[in-house]
Symmetry: C2
């Protein structure tokens, strides 16, 4: 993420990196090595950043006290990516080799488990309320359930928009919402503000995932770090394709390709064309803007000015995101 967006919390983010490295250290050398590779492969650190912003909105911000939770959020994200990469058989992520391509599936599955458990350990040993522990556990239940639905539906070309929203809510929006909410929680903000920040996070999370799904179809492999149309190739239909499956005159051809586990590169290119010609891209862009507008509307007024400004910059950033 463009660094200037998070200028206000740049010190928090600077302290986060060594804290992440420290947290992924283990007595077993190989675990430390994998953790360190994952941390150094980078990432937007979007979840901790959104958490820090909310956490700074209360009266008494203590970075050391909240840091274990920021670390846990990023570790849970890392763990779920590690398992996703095993499941998708992915070789690279953000231009770096995936854990499964470096250490194999077996060790990657176990490393993901380790990271999940260590994230809970960080939070359970910290000074957090019962609610925080419950929220995190519930979050991972949702994350896995969302991925299970997605996995079950591959190559079925399911055209139900509501199911799609439910899936990306579980997979992404809920996580981003909880990152904001937990920050508000540790800052002891009024319950109304906590809820509003959850809603804000949910809306930007939905917009974020919709944009991800758009970029998969519109961007090129250089920017994306993976080939365009990868979702369709993996049997996953996202909103632009769902729109095309509903309205395109070539919807039957698209369905035929999207349900074929052995589609050729030519067929994939044809499928992408059908989606683009159906207006699915514009339809999805409109939904992104709707979520971002709602996000702007629900963002609480009573936050410190710098926090509000930064949250609004995040909204703009997601709207203009190209990678």
């Amino acid at each position: 993420m463009a660094t200037k967006v998070f200028d206000f919390i740049k010190e928090d983010l600077a302290v986060l990196e060594p804290a992440l490295l420290e947290a992924t250290k283990a007595k077993v050398e190989l675990v430390t090595e994998i953790g360190s590779h994952l941390v150094k492969s980078g990432g937007k650190r979007l979840r901790p950043a959104l958490f820090f912003l909310a956490a700074r909105s209360g009266g008494d911000y203590q970075r050391e006290r909240v840091m274990p939770l920021a670390v846990a959020l990023e570790m849970i994200h890392m763990a779920s990516l590690v398992h996703d990469d095993v499941i998708d058989n992915a070789d690279t992520r953000r231009g770096s080799a995936t854990a499964n391509s470096k250490w194999g599936n077996q060790i990657s599955i176990l490393s993901g488990d380790y990271l999940f458990a260590k994230a809970f350990y960080m939070v359970a040993s910290g000074e957090f309320s019962k609610r925080v522990n419950v929220q995190l556990a519930s979050l991972i239940c949702d994350l896995s359930a969302g991925e299970i639905i997605q996995n079950k539906e591959t190559y079925t070309a399911c055209i139900d928009e509501e199911e799609y929203y439910d899936r990306i809510a579980k997979k992404t929006a809920n996580f981003i919402a909880i990152s904001c909410q937990l920050g508000a929680d540790v800052a002891k903000l009024p319950e109304k503000t906590v809820d509003a920040l959850y809603d804000f996070g949910y809306c930007i999370g939905m917009a974020f995932q919709l944009t991800d799904d758009l970029l998969d179809l519109t961007s090129d492999s250089k920017k994306l770090g993976k080939p365009a149309g990868n979702d369709i190739l993996q049997g996953i239909v996202t909103l632009p394709a769902i729109h095309a499956l509903n309205v395109s005159p070539d919807k039957e051809e698209l369905r035929r390709i999207a349900t074929n586990r052995n589609m050729t590169a030519e067929e994939l290119a044809h499928a992408i064309d059908i989606v683009r010609n159906s207006g699915g891209i514009e339809y999805t862009k409109k939904k992104v803007q709707e979520f971002l507008n709602t996000a702007r509307k629900v963002l609480p007024e009573d936050l410190p000015a710098e926090v509000r400004e930064t949250y609004l910059m995040v909204v703009d950033f997601i709207g203009g995101r190209e990678f």
Copy 2:
């Protein structure tokens, strides 16, 4: 496990089964289906049983209050077995189809994640101390680290006995120890008794895993539900083989086979013979007895008579275990 051993807590165990089914239910139907398959595939329920026994040793036993922790212990066990079966590419466990053989690796990885997270959820939402949450998280860190070490060492025929003990401690003994300890914890037993029950659990856990490793070499596939010599086939050397690798006149031949990823059935049979002829079986049986004797010695005197008796029956059971 022979039912009569756990006669004293048979009602706790009877209530556990529907509680497990309930806990593995999810909004996503497929998750419920997998959870229900896993619960119905059975198992010894050793960890919850050992937990109940300790939990009943305090003044004020409330089954409903402690049940979520018993459920969590079994769910963590189930989750780790689900991931193990993916890693080992196992088709059956205890005579039932594994999750990976029924639903594939991808859904099984995610279901394991779901079960881990749900276990934390059960405990975080229950009335348990911070220490309980920390212990459980730390337990899963150890479990995964133990499996990572084991996985890393496959087909290396590592002959270090201490490393072997460390690995089975992380994989099994520590979990069984914590099951006893957490029971003592919720029963608010004196710190000395809590520690002693941890040590007791550790010793029977070590004996239990050593026996498992023995049975892999001495039992037949009908009793075991998997082919004899499966560990060697998977590249894992356990204490009997380690002993043979240290003392057998045929140790070089054994090393050659145990480090060969493509060993034939004939070579495997030969390897088993070398281990049997080396005295590795007797050596391991002696170690089992040593751990069981220590278990008897460290078992606190100040437990209720039925609890002590049952724990001692467990010790005898492990000593006489044939499957």
